[in-house]
Amino acid sequence: MNEEHFGFLDEYAKKEVRRATLKAVAIPGYQVPYSSREMPMGRGFGTGGLQLTLALIGRGETLKVIDQGSDDSVNAVNLRSFIEMTCPGIHTTCRTEQADLIQSRHRIPEKPLREDQLLVLQVPYPDALVVVEASEEKRKLLHGEADYSRLLVKLYEDIVKFDEITISHRYPTRINGHFVIDPSPIPRWDVPRLHQSPALILLGAGREKKIYAVPPYTQAVPLAFEDVPFRVENFSDEQGQRRSCVRCGCNSSFLDEYVDSATGEQVYRCSDSDWCNQQLEQRQGVDQAVEVVNG
């Protein structure tokens, strides 16, 4: 056999990742340790997500890779071309609905995922308790006992100091009433999508050597207080109007803020580039139809 081995990893490495994912699904939210092989890119560049994808994917499947919502940013392009190179016979796409597997850095696609799709999230820091406990040994025991009192105190201190919980991303989320996970640096906006998701969500931290999962149709509840409920990003302007994407006009998506280099003005655009493109196509389609009707 002269052809390069499918999926870059040897079969032993894949089996280890596979066994770890099965335990991760069986113990929702628990960080299963695994050996995390050396990859031809630095740890911290999505090697955890990459190893999951390489262990999961088979010939004929369609993959989408995104970085902060975009198919075209450096991390996504590099990972996609590496997977294309090492997994002959797979297809890639930018369209969320065409993908069987989606590997993502820091976003969950706007378009709701289906049961037959699978989301892999790249994770830099897997342990939500790391902010209150430095020792991994002690954190493991706190997780086992589902003792998150110190994390709740941290959130409470935020409220005392700033009148609200100041976590913008990596919002601690409790899975199936037991383990609290770091859901990777997704914005708060995406956290509700973990709850009762039709698709299986796998999270891989290559540097920290952990794999964990949010199974489909599972409780995923962000930590909050009865009188200070969890809330997502607010995209209203000073007049209370919901801002919309300057490119496609969508006023229901997660927006990125830019400064227009020509005018110095603040502008907002969809963070999910495929969503933005599809909204734009739809709008152009409607515009063309209107033109046809008007002659």
């Binding site: 032993y12 596979r18 335990k23 113990i27 929702p28 010939r59 997780h143 299986l200 149709y217």
Partner: protein
């Protein structure tokens, strides 16, 4: 050229792994095992997809040929110490599998239980829990109901527990530790 039976080929193992992942994600759902032919049965196909020399295995009811066990490369051990156990559904287990610990619940056994049929059967179960939208009903033939009593005693202290994969000649289904089972 030497012909390798499909279940030992990486792309068939990948497909069978994905079935296992799907089964574990959606307890009670049925999946048809791929790569089966006259020389390889469903039990061996699933074990081939999961095992290698770094895990401990026990064929507690002697369901496999010694020559097949050798191909799996796994270390053989007693039921109490195995990571993966192959059991028969009609024999009620008389051992205590590994349940993991509070700090390492993943160091627990996965039990592969061979039953006579998964689609129809005298045992009807109602399943709820993670991975199940509302309720999943499944029928099993050839599983002693005492198995479920034993399972309950093993999984009652989450996160500790065991995960079950039920297999007949063609299909598989999973009961992870989080699934609540109600006998109808």
């Amino acid at each position: 050229m030497l012909e390798v039976a499909p279940i030992w080929q990486p792309h068939i193992q990948q497909q069978n792994y994905r079935l296992l992942l799907e089964a574990m994600s959606r307890p009670g759902s049925l999946h048809s095992i791929t790569g089966l032919n006259t020389s390889s049965n469903s039990l061996l196909a699933v074990l081939a997809a999961l095992l290698d020399s770094s895990v401990r295995f026990c064929d507690s009811n002697g369901l496999l040929e010694a020559s097949d066990i050798a191909l799996l490369q796994a270390m053989q051990t007693v039921p109490e110490e195995a990571d993966y156990l192959l059991c028969s559904g009609i024999d009620v287990p008389d051992f205590q599998p590994r349940l993991g610990s509070l700090v390492s619940p993943e160091q627990s056994a996965t039990l592969l239980v061979h039953v006579s049929a998964l689609e129809a059967g005298d045992l009807q179960l109602g399943l709820t829990g993670p991975g199940i939208k509302e309720k999943q009903v499944c029928n099993i033939q050839g599983l002693d109901s005492d198995w479920l009593v034993k399972r309950e005693s093993w999984v009652c202290g989450f996160p500790l527990g065991v995960d079950l994969i039920l297999l007949d000649q063609q299909q598989l289904m999973a009961l992870p530790r989080t699934t609540r089972v109600e006998v109808h």
